[in-house]
């Protein structure tokens, strides 16, 4: 199993933010809100995504969640816009 990443790298934060904006209706108005680690909005969207894909629902960015976000996919959101 992949070693746990030391800390979520900067670019991971961008991957997460873009993913949640594209597919989970995260409203950010261009601000980097994923950096605000305790952003409840981000936590809630992360939980929705983890639930959809049958991952462990933590609301935190872990290796499995990141790995899944990096997979090629359809551009249509997973939740109704």
């Amino acid at each position: 199993f992949p070693a746990a990443t030391a800390g979520t790298r900067e670019q991971d934060m961008e991957v997460v933010q873009k993913y949640l904006e594209n597919y989970y209706n995260l409203k950010s108005d261009g601000k980097q809100i994923v950096r605000q680690r305790n952003s409840s909005l981000v936590t809630e969207k992360l939980k929705k995504m983890q639930e959809f894909f049958g991952l462990k629902v933590t609301g935190k960015i872990d290796a499995d969640t990141l790995n899944l976000m990096r997979q090629p996919r359809c551009g249509v959101p997973d939740i109704a816009q």
């Binding site: 199993f1 594209n22 597919y23 959809f52 894909f53 049958g54 991952l55 462990k56 899944l68 997979q71 090629p72 996919r73 359809c74 551009g75 249509v76 997973d78 109704a80």
Partner: protein, 367 residues
Amino acid sequence: YVLTDRTLRWEHTHLTYRIENYTPDLPRADVDSAIEKAFQLWSNVSPLTFTKVLRGQADIMISFVRGDHYDNSPFDGPDGNLAHAFPPGPNLGGDAHFDEDERWTKNYRNYNLYRVAAHELGHSLGLSHSTDIGALMYPNYMYDGHVQLSQDDINAIQAIYGPSPNPVQPTGPQTPQVCDSNLIFDLITTFRGEVMFFKDRFYMRLNPFYPEVELNFISTFWPNLPSGLQAAYEFAERDEVRFFKGGKYWAVQGQEMLYGYPKDIYRSFGFPKAVKNIDAAVSDEETGKTYFFVANKYWRYDEYNQSMDAGYPRMIAADFPGIGRKVDAAFQKYGFFYIIRGTTQYKFDLQTKRILSIDRANSWFSC
């Protein structure tokens, strides 16, 4: 599958489509064929029909575009977002856009156009994403050589448009439910300390890091293994797992398929030609003896001498009392054999030839 309370649908069932432009990655005929086959998947299971038009406005307009193409959903360059489609409606409604920054193929290389089109046209007809990993409407790109509607996809489209007019209602494969008490595994093997369970096109794997059982396509790890595998065992000494189907077998080391396979079981192990397939196999790490279960008999093979032990085959009932006649799967863990028949698992002590406990075959998944 998901139907929202605002699920949009076409009010007429005879729809038109038009391919506005073509990707340079494939001959036009291959693009036409991929799109046509993708529509056929959906028309086969519903009252919908699709007619291709060459000019003017069609219900479903198909195009290959890149970057920002002015539909408020820009593409993102290679990989990532591959394509998108809009739910039924006028103008942009129903249209499907494919990202021209991807390489479109008609084989297993990324990305298979037929596979992606089958998914996107589901959206064009009103479907949302499915959480069922075996469904075409699952959001992530997965291609194991088959493009077929799962039962989940069929249920979804029929929930919107009703059943197919075909006298025989088509059905699709169901994704195994790990806690289904009627789940019968095709094969089970240990794998570098883990236990992997196989059913149809899927593996299930216990993840030591958290309770969720990992379920995914076998092709995720071994794209060249055939479907319909029947048995497997791990020869830990050589870090190999051998998969059996019919009279042939394949060997893998981690995710690598070993070279020179498939080989045949007759020449490699010395089975008589009367043996058409192996039902189950398990190798005893202590002795290097591998047990092959075939119908109501079993053979024992010596991995070190690389020959079948004399005096075999023997009756399963004689040496595995209480387990019955036929075995579906078998593996070794913690020094014991776990022999599976149907939905029942027997924990068996090879030394004392006694059953130590009886469980459900999926009891490992702590349902």
